[in-house]
């Protein structure tokens, strides 16, 4: 199967799902799962191949699809997360309206993302980019109500990004004469560095908006929290990473390592690193203040994207490997967390952190998977998040950027604070009376979540498997190859041996467990037994979870207003007022229109006679 057929199957599959839905919802569901899982197989077989196909010619420009190691990694992540999301949707979306439309759009987004990572010229890239953007818009606003507003915010920013990309494409077309990535890559070193910078900045705006880097992040919290949960997983897991893909593509495939490091005296990649650091620190602490589980995760996504871009932009092999690996890991654990929260929302009908609690007794599997996800998010050892963060920190420290390293490391403590709030307020503490007959999540919700937690743990203990692939990518961009072993990284400046760490932790756990068994046997008692000591306690919530970090949030809240969002809203308001005023001249009265024409002519005559400007 060649690449064009792959995309075609994906596209036809999406529309076929829609048509099948008109016949029977059962067939549609089965087919959607089938088509999304089916596509993983040919993608997997493409590993290590260097296939290229010109599938169409437009205005004399060839439209090309091509697979590289980088696009293979992204394509696999995209297809896996989408398949899991489709499986999750089966029960999550059951009984909702417009389901044919939902599945159509979900699979179209998938096609768009596959197309983006596989295309090898800017026209295909742009077309697939737009397919993805618009179907994303329709999915974000699927729930109507506030979701419409969120979707509108998203699409306006997305259009600004697309406009910036169009300008870049046209400019490249005029100057370079070709839109093929290979041609552009050979053209860039011949042109002036000012022009290169201009092109890079134009595309960085596009990708920055999609990737939600500060100051372009404002669409993300609304969109992630309002979208249906399975789609939030796709959105946060892979869709915003299309921006990351674009960054890597333009910085390392098209411009090349040398140009990126040297352009503007090295200030370009340093500036992006600083933006990434800002993207880490503020969203992390804004996430601490959130009370909506999905909104918390949305802010956390912005912060984690900061780590990815920081690793990629710092311009060393170690950082690049760390950044790309963190993309992969974030796709796994953030999708896992969104799906877990989705499962909780499905069963309890709410995702308000202040009213949930104690669900570990009702949904133990979801709890343990979410716990693994949270550990990955924090970067606890034995999860994949640890390895990628370790690589990024090491790159920053050895690259002598101690302040960037500080921000990255300090962000971790913020992550702990909000992650613990998430886990504690949903699953631990007291079970409110109204949730006493909640059942465990349905099996189609548990399968994706369990699969993703396995990914998080396995790649945490044996990070060599994905790192090897990523290292070939980074070597192909001219970075120095790392000494990757199956258990981690061997190098003179510091070894990381996850298998050793795993063995140590495992042995210590066994030892402490034996110690635990040696003591006198425990008894299990009810939650309020020892606290109340037999006295009466109010049944519904004597425990304290509302405003969990009150002393902290009181202190940091004034500094954490999203000024950027306020500015954009103000700008939107000004434009609206201005447009309203302008609209008043179209009053619908013919007399006025004639007088406008006469006035205009009069002005022209005056200019001609009096000023003699032409």
């Amino acid at each position: 199967m060649n690449l064009a057929q792959l995309i075609l199957i994906s596209l036809c599959g999406a529309f076929l799902t829609y048509l099948l839905g008109k016949a029977s919802s059962r067939i549609r569901d089965t087919f959607a799962v089938f088509i999304s899982l089916l596509l993983i197989i040919p993608l997997f077989c493409l590993y290590g191949k260097n296939e290229e196909i010109t599938y169409y010619s437009f205005l004399g420009l060839p439209l090309i699809l091509k697979i590289t190691p980088l696009s293979w990694l992204f394509a696999i992540a995209v297809q896996t997360i989408t398949s899991l999301s489709v499986i999750f949707s089966l029960s999550y979306m059951k009984g909702k309206e417009r389901l044919d439309f939902y599945y159509l759009m979900l699979l179209l987004v998938n096609t768009g993302m596959l197309g983006i990572v596989l295309s090898a010229d800017l026209i295909s890239f742009y077309i697939f980019w737009e397919i993805m953007s618009w179907s994303t818009f329709l999915l974000i606003s699927y729930n109507r109500g506030p979701a419409l507003h969120a979707g509108m915010k998203y699409i306006v920013m997305s259009i600004i990004g697309s406009a910036s990309m169009i300008i870049g494409i046209l400019s490249l077309y005029v100057n370079c004469g070709s839109l093929d990535f290979v041609q552009i890559a050979s053209f860039i070193p011949r042109t002036s560095s000012g022009y290169t910078l201009f092109i890079l900045i134009l595309f960085c705006i596009t990708f920055g908006i999609k990737n939600a880097i500060a100051p372009f992040h404002t669409w993300l919290p609304d969109a992630h929290s309002e979208a249906p949960s399975p789609f939030s997983a796709v959105l946060s897991g892979v869709l915003i990473k299309m921006g990351t893909y674009g960054f890597i593509l333009f910085m390392y495939t098209i411009a090349g390592l040398n140009i990126i490091i040297n352009i503007g005296g090295g200030s370009f990649h340093y500036l992006i690193s600083i933006l990434a650091a800002i993207t880490i620190i503020f969203p992390t602490f804004i996430a601490v203040l959130q009370d909506d589980a999905k909104r918390l995760l949305a802010w956390s996504s912005i912060a984690q994207v900061g780590y990815i871009i920081l690793g990629i932009a710092i311009g060393t092999g170690l950082g690049f490997v760390g950044g790309v690996f963190h993309f992969f890991n974030h796709a796994a654990f953030k999708a896992l967390l969104f799906l877990s929260v989705g499962a909780v929302e499905y069963r309890t009908g709410t995702r308000d952190l202040n009213s949930l609690g104690g669900l570990i007794k009702k949904m133990p599997i979801t709890f343990f998977c979410a716990l693994i996800g949270v550990f990955g998010l924090i970067g606890m050892p034995l999860t994949n998040g640890f390895v990628s963060k370790w690589l990024i920190y090491k790159a920053l420290i050895l690259g002598e950027h101690p302040f960037l390293a500080f921000i990255a490391l300090f962000g971790t403590w913020g992550t702990i604070i909000y992650s613990y709030k998430l886990i504690h307020n949903i699953f631990l503490g007291q079970l409110p009376e109204k949730f006493s007959n909640v059942r465990k999540a349905p099996v189609t919700m548990r399968i994706p979540v369990i699969f993703l937690s396995l990914v998080v743990v396995v790649f945490g203990i044996l990070p060599g498997i994905p790192l090897k692939i990523i290292d070939t990518i980074s070597a192909s961009f001219g970075f120095q190859p790392q000494d990757i072993q199956i258990w981690g990284i061997a190098s003179e400046t510091g070894v990381l041996n996850m298998v050793n760490i795993f063995a140590a932790i495992f042995a210590a756990l066994i030892f402490v467990w034996l110690l635990f068994l040696m003591g006198r046997k425990k008894i299990n008692i009810a939650q309020d037994d020892s606290y109340a000591a037999g006295a009466y306690v109010p049944k519904d919530k004597y425990n304290y979870t509302v405003d969990f970090y009150k002393p902290l949030s009181g202190m940091i809240k004034p500094y954490l207003r999203d000024f950027v969002d306020d500015f954009y809203l103000w700008l939107a308001d000004v434009i609206r007022t201005f447009s309203d005023k302008t609209r008043k001249i179209y009053c619908g009265d013919l007399g006025y229109y004639i007088s406008y024409i006469v006035l205009f002519l009069a002005v022209l005559i005056v200019l001609k006679m009096g000023l003699k400007i032409w």
Partner: protein, 296 residues
């Protein structure tokens, strides 16, 4: 290989003995400072034996798992910290791994306490995590100054670089060392920063639901964490030790100084603690880091 395995067994045992001894000494010195007589030094050890014979109660699987995870994390941490030449698995990731393995303990206890649903525990955990956010700023700045100065992320290399009395505390890293010492009471949870466990306000916070062997494990964890933070300070700023005995003497000196601080200070409120921790130690450690980046 045999020596390595022997070291893996010996270092947690040593850490346990020293930690328990420190706990006893801590109570004794504090008592003498307060003009009391105080319990015998081996009292914490006797308590442990008693606790493991008493019945404990549990609130669920995470209640058990959390405390096991916390203690296991501390034991692993000890294996990473050079103790006067004994350092079994330091070669597996360096200081960055240590920073992360340090998270096992607070998270384990927080998870364990979370399942108990006791308001005192919630308040204690909330305070502990906020306090950690407070001291972590200076802690990370100090560590980064060290790692930048010696241009390595390996703790063993940092210790080796300080051989022959070239202690980091008497080098350009002095500011970082001072900042680290200032935040140490907060890391150990002793006065003026014993906010998370404040016995008179929230009845020892996270530890309140523990009884029997749970409290025993909690106490062992406490002893080990006391060992870890002080040993880390000795390794980072006082040049480690050429043999376990000199290392222990250095630890003892640092520990007694900390006990004196504990003995005479009252307790901060949590907001006051954060304001303090985000001010003086940060100013000192930040200027330390700037100094290092400038002179390098």
């Amino acid at each position: 290989m045999v020596i390595n395995i022997l070291e893996i067994i010996i270092s947690p045992v040593l850490a346990f003995i020293i930690g328990i001894f420190f706990m006893g000494l801590f109570r004794k010195i504090t008592a003498r400072l307060h003009w009391r007589y105080g319990p015998p030094v081996i009292q914490p050890f006797l308590d442990l034996i008693k606790l493991f014979h008493q019945q404990g109660f549990s609130h669920g699987p995470v209640f058990d798992l959390g405390i096991i995870m916390a203690l296991a994390g501390s034991i692993v941490l000890i294996l990473f910290i050079p103790f006067g030449g004994i350092c079994p698995i330091s070669n597996s990731g360096g200081l960055l791994v240590i920073i992360y393995i340090m998270l096992f303990a607070p998270l384990g206890i927080a998870l364990s306490g979370g399942e108990a649903a006791n308001p005192n525990i919630s308040i204690g955990i909330s305070r502990k995590l906020i306090l950690a956010l407070g001291y972590e700023v200076s802690f990370l700045l100090a560590l980064l100054a060290l790692m930048t100065y010696y241009n390595t992320i390996s703790l063993v290399d940092i210790v080796e670089a300080q051989d022959n009395y070239k202690w980091a505390l008497f080098s350009p890293l002095a500011l970082s060392g001072i900042a680290y010492f200032i935040i140490m009471p907060a890391m150990l949870g002793i006065r003026p920063f014993d906010i998370a466990g404040a016995p008179q306000e929230i009845s020892t916070g996270p530890a309140i639901e523990y009884g029997g062997k749970y409290l025993g494990l909690f106490n062992i964890w406490h002893a080990l964490s006391m060992f870890v933070y002080i040993a880390l300070f000795v390794d980072l700023f006082l040049g480690g030790g050429s043999n376990p005995l000199t290392f222990f003497i250095k630890m003892l000196v640092v520990f007694i100084l900390l006990t004196f601080i504990h003995g005479v200070f009252p307790r901060f409120r949590i907001e006051q603690a954060i304001k303090y921790l985000w001010k003086w130690p940060v100013i000192i450690s930040l200027s330390g880091l700037i100094l290092i980046t400038v002179i390098r």
